[in-house]
Amino acid sequence: MHRQLTAALLFTLGATVAASAHHGWGSYDTAKKFTIEAAIDMIAWQNPHAHVMLKYENATWEITLAPISRMERRGLSEAMLKTGTVIQAEGYPSTRHEHEMRAERITIDGKVYEMR
């Protein structure tokens, strides 16, 4: 009986450790931080993450931002991210999808907004 319980707990612990390998910003390469400065091609102001499309080195990059409630709390709004607005997005490339960046912060009009 105790052995069964112990086995179940150990199994659970093992699975938790395996699962936590994906935690955080795990699918983005934080060693390759870079910045894109471009006019917004397209904006999707939506949950669970907003996205903007920016041109960078002859490709269109999808920039993953934060949940909209977090960005609103920090003073951002959909109206500030209109198509054509020039922004700087600083972040990391995805290790899974080509031309996708997870933004650590974005800068609009010299004002910095943290995404994490």
Partner: protein, 155 residues
Amino acid sequence: MWDALLRGLEFSSLGFAARSWTWLYPLANLAHVLGATFLVGAILVFDIQLLRNRFELAASISRTALAVAATGLALLIITGPIMFSAEATAFGRNPIFLAKMVLILAGLANLSLYHWAKRRVFLQPPIPANARFHAAISATVWILAVIAGRSIAYV
């Protein structure tokens, strides 16, 4: 067929609301987590009594445990589709999401098999020998379902 279904859900008014309303997705997420703690917490309390051979204790807590679990299940069933519809095409291809669905089906099958075979288990002793086997399966599968659920966002 599956893809069309996913697209239909993603572009439904539910999917639209889940994406565009500032608080719907975060609240659904919150209630989903709450539902999981209710469901799995109540299941574990019950299963552990079975594993310890405390069948009378298990029977005496079963009403309360069932009420808490049912409340949790209701929260989960209501909020799951809200989050799913926000990104249905991505979720429908996410291997961890599909694994979570398999785990849930396994948990429900385990429950059904046990109850189907031993309907009156707590009213008529002796307790069946396989009660502890089903309890071990139940505890394992439901914990793994929670782990899979939280992992969906990270694969």
